[in-house]
């Protein structure tokens, strides 16, 4: 299905559909996410493959966190981006899609690690890239790029003049 046809088809179901540069994006609220994904999968659109799941942080906007799901239909070859806007609390919640797309497991852990988005229903939501005892969510725009004080847990580093050899 061409992006234009897909756009027209999705307009019948969703209010916020955008076609730009050959890509179709749909925005839904967090409560409608699972139902929307069901519809997208079971209708003849056939979006059965989740390519990518990530988040971006817009601190000046409301909603602040935008979780993007990139879906692909293997049979028909078209792609779609589903975006969910989450309010700017410290712990935004969104339902997890791991039951439907097991590939979302590590993607959601990464989004939690970097942005603090909590995925309800995820089997094992804990940090994946940062150390387990890290505090803060580094990819938020409010977190600094560098200059973060760290403590190496489990190792002690003597000062340079007493390091031996």
């Amino acid at each position: 299905m061409t992006p234009e046809d897909l756009f027209g088809r999705l307009r019948t179901r969703f209010a916020d559909v955008v076609l730009a540069r050959g890509e179709v994006s749909v925005s839904v609220g967090p409560k409608e996410l699972l139902a929307a994904l069901e519809w997208l999968r079971d209708e003849d659109l056939g979006f059965d493959f989740l390519s990518d799941l990530t988040c971006s942080d817009w601190p000046e906007l409301e909603p602040r966190y935008w979780v993007a799901y990139h879906l692909l239909s293997l049979a028909q070859g078209h792609r779609l981006r589903v975006k969910v806007g989450l309010a700017g609390d410290d712990e935004p919640h969104v339902p997890s899609v791991t039951a439907r797309y097991p590939t979302a497991d590590w993607f959601e852990r990464e989004a939690f690690d970097f942005f603090g988005v909590v995925f309800d229903g995820h089997p094992d939501l804990r940090r994946i890239e940062m150390p387990e005892e890290w505090t803060g969510h580094p990819l938020r725009k409010t977190e600094p790029l560098a200059g973060v004080r760290t403590r190496f847990v489990g190792a002690s580093i003597p000062p340079p003049d007493r390091r031996g050899t």
Binding site: R21, E23, H70, L74, T103, D105, W106, M130, P131
Partner: protein, 431 residues
Amino acid sequence: MTSSPGRPPGSPSTPTSTEIETRSMGVREDTMIINMGPQHPSTHGVLRLVLELEGEVVVGCRPVVGYLHTGIEKNMEYRTWQQGSTFVTRADYLSPFFNELGYCLAAERLLGVEAPPRAQTIRILVTELNRIASHLVWLATTGLELGAISVMLYGFRERETILDIFEAITGLRMNHAYIRIGGVVMDLPVDVPARVERLLNTLDSRIGEYEDLLSGNPIWHQRTRGIGVLRAEDCLRLGVTGPMLRAAGVARDIRRDEPYCGIEEYEFDVPVADSADAFGRYEVRIEEMRQSLRIVRQSLERLRPGPVMVEDPKVRWPAQLSVGPDGIGNSEEYVRHIMNESMEALIHHFKIVTQGVKVPPGEAYVPVESPRGELGYYVVSDGGQHPYRVHIRDPSFVNLQSVPALVTGGLVADVVAAVASVDPVMGGVDR
């Protein structure tokens, strides 16, 4: 926790004499938790696998990643768009050209520009050579881990010949930053097409040597056949793409299904196996190397004279690089032009290099077929000179999720073979 002794799948369930003996002695049998730590010769980088073993059988596996997390995505938000090429190239460090290509295609989609035809042909040339180099490293390290140590030396020998070509084209052996937004940063040197031609002739026979060495080898068969099986439905549910998916029988290749840089005009086959095990992945990768040779040969034939960077002055990288007596730098005529002749050209050069291009607001997702699978770039712009958000959908990150499914139920010695057949590159997994 008592449990019956581990046995390989498929053996009968009546208790053996050892079981009866151990039970009567009151011996406790627990599972053992073993850490294949981040520092390990056979885990393809800093991957940590926490294995739960019952005897020699793996009953549980938990991969721990993040030991190479570099913060590339956040770092790119503080640099200009053009500088993004140098950052993403170090994510999946065995396929640097693919990283750059995906990022530049996404940025070009936002800008609404397309690289000139010669640049697109050069992009295909270098990316397909990179695919061969990456598969050679895979073959070399997999052979080393499974005990075929000479394959390591042969693989790196061939890779050096390809790296010589890369060095002639870009100046670097790895992490090139050659593919930039708008095209490629400089044209091919005049002797490179002939060198690539000679390289293609030798590589074909060398790949035949690998097949002679390994494809009929009974030890190779015993170590890879039936190991790390992941059928097509499970691959798709776990989001696995690339040679793992093609070895399971699904003929999905982004070069075929969502072509980029004019690759739809090239003739090549997409190799598919149906055994879904480590041996099938080996066959697929060997055949992919051959198909990449075909594509490189066709790209040489397609090379026509022309510019290698877009003409739009707001986008094009302003430098005119050439090789001089002291290395690669701006050509003398260009330096004379901006220093002596034209103040506007100097100011323009300065602005573009220091501030970069301004990319219109929007978002784009562009997938390319990297040697490991679907490498996608989700790029978000807010209209400024820095990328607002760049997310790298790395195939190794997703494929590594399948490791528990590959190794559970098998022997611990097969963990190495299974992880090797996934071909993870931890730079891409952790970024």
